[in-house]
Subunit: 322 residues, 2 copies
């Protein structure tokens, strides 16, 4: 999906979000501002603010509270990225040198805490408790998803329902809340709020499945980030889960021994084992199923450009190149 | 101060806080509950809930919202303790074995996040945004204090005003907020709310100065925790700051070289250097000054048992044995 279309639709609002984001994080302490500048390297496509703003526009009228809410969800997301950096110690060490004289782990823990604190503080400036309660419930779920994930590290017997539960909490819950809040603060009827929440949940699940596929079989140059991280972290993802359930016995044994080992060419060997079968396709089909559910959830919403954008975003999840 | 007196005064409420604390943190995921059980090893004297409840009782009537608020501040405090464990990697390694099969750093980061998320979620269940806004402002300040502290790690030229600023934000801001919220939610007049906030701030500063003195020159058996941590972390505290400003030149040079080194008997040598002078006494006098300001801030509050308790708590800060 060309980014320019999203920009036509909510570009002005996204610029306001960026402005508010930077303003809220500024401190009277120079050392804090120095650290906050490092958040920039985590900034991405502002997917979550975009979902929130498009959902609001698709379901009603945007208000200034939408800018605040979109800033809040971006801060929450940034905080999880920053703390993921601590969880993934290797990654952290690699970037450590850029975080000045601050020690890597400490800087990442405190910067994440600073972001989450500011997100809640900003959220509590709204006229009602509704959003704060929803954001708190969502971050509870995100933490639980992360905890369930590390509890299943190196668990080669992880089943598909548990995998879906992990990514639903860890990733999709925030997307669902974005769409729900966008719609509610736009004055949408309850039915549309629920539909958009379902849309966000399903898009979030599909997005994470696709992200996990890319981590396994994507091309570094195309995807543009380090791959194979899930293997290094002992994270079981859908293609592997399906492989270990359905592949011929000796193939399954081979994969299990590869996953238990730490040969330097492990990623390559896992790819060669998994790619020939229909395991990647199975995972893509599962993602496609969630995309279809997301798009179906838009039924009955008034025809509009922002609604088309949401539809296109859902489709785009599947078309991200391997 | 005998704990039984506090218990007579707010013991019933503290039991309710403990109950709500445990209830709020329980999850449908067994792995989360397993991890949360480790929070128990951080549980202490519930100083912050006690301040909040006594301030409320000293200034007006306690309500059910006080139980919620006291639970919130305890969760915030626990979260900072758990994340401190990550910052202080050595300490963490020592306790790591008790955190099951979860890796130490990850468990501590996520457990802290889980606590802070639940504290905000619980806070947003109150009838107004007021407390959530105050808690968010306070956690912003706590993060800034921590960041200022690590920015000044190994800074032998740290001056006293910056030291006071660090401990004001890192420690005293939450104590101030406890007393302020306790009073406000008890329906106290604005004047009393401000007085109790000042009381909490000054007690918090005095408490941290005394804590830092104990870390340097306390007796392990009496204090009941590992000492000398500040030296290991490169944290400059008030006795050392005063020493480096006023001691004879050759003594200052010796301390600087000890602080820069990492001899195994460093703590012992620093103690031997600092103890003979009036440096500890200077720091104790500064703490005593804040205690006096705290007690003076109670002037004009109605005479009552909870007011006497607050007064006694302030005095107790100074009497903690070395």
């Amino acid at each position: 999906m060309p980014l320019s279309l999203v920009n036509d639709c909510v570009g002005r609002e996204l610029a306001l979000v960026e402005e508010r984001f930077n303003r809220e994080l500024s401190s009277d302490l120079p050392c804090v501002n120095t650290l906050v500048r490092h958040v920039a390297r985590f900034r991405g496509k502002m997917l979550r603010p975009t979902l929130l703003l498009l959902a609001g526009k698709a379901a009603g009228q945007l208000t200034d509270e939408h800018i605040t809410l979109a800033t809040v969800v971006e801060m929450v997301h940034m905080a999880t990225l920053v703390h993921d950096d601590v969880l993934d110690e290797a990654e952290l060490r690699r970037n450590g040198a850029t975080i000045n004289h601050l020690r890597g782990n400490e800087a990442a823990v405190l910067l994440g805490d600073y972001l989450i604190s500011h997100s809640y503080h900003l959220c509590s400036s709204l006229s009602s408790q509704f959003a704060a309660r929803a954001i708190g419930r969502t971050t509870n779920a995100v933490c639980e998803g992360e905890l369930l994930q590390i509890d299943n590290r190196n668990n080669l017997d992880l089943d598909e329902p548990t995998y879906i539960q992990i990514i639903s909490r860890k990733t999709a819950s925030l997307c669902a809340t974005c769409c729900m809040l966008g719609a509610r603060y736009a004055g949408a009827p309850e039915r549309h709020i629920r539909q958009l929440e379902t849309f966000g949940l399903c898009v979030g699940i599909a997005f994470q499945i696709q992200d996990d596929i890319l981590d396994l079989v994507g091309d570094v140059a195309t995807v543009g980030k380090t791959l194979g991280i899930d293997l290094d972290k002992g994270k079981m993802t859908l293609p592997l889960i399906h492989f270990l359930r359905t592949a011929p016995r000796e193939h399954r044994e081979l994969l299990r021994s590869l996953l238990r080992g730490d040969e330097p060419d492990r990623l390559e060997r896992v790819r060669n084992l998994v790619l020939p079968g229909n395991y990647i396709q199975y995972a893509r089909n599962r993602a496609a199923g969630y995309v279809a559910r997301a798009r179906a959830a838009l039924d009955g919403l008034p025809d509009s450009e922002p609604r088309s954008m949401l539809d296109a975003m859902a489709e785009f999840v599947l078309s991200r190149p391997l």
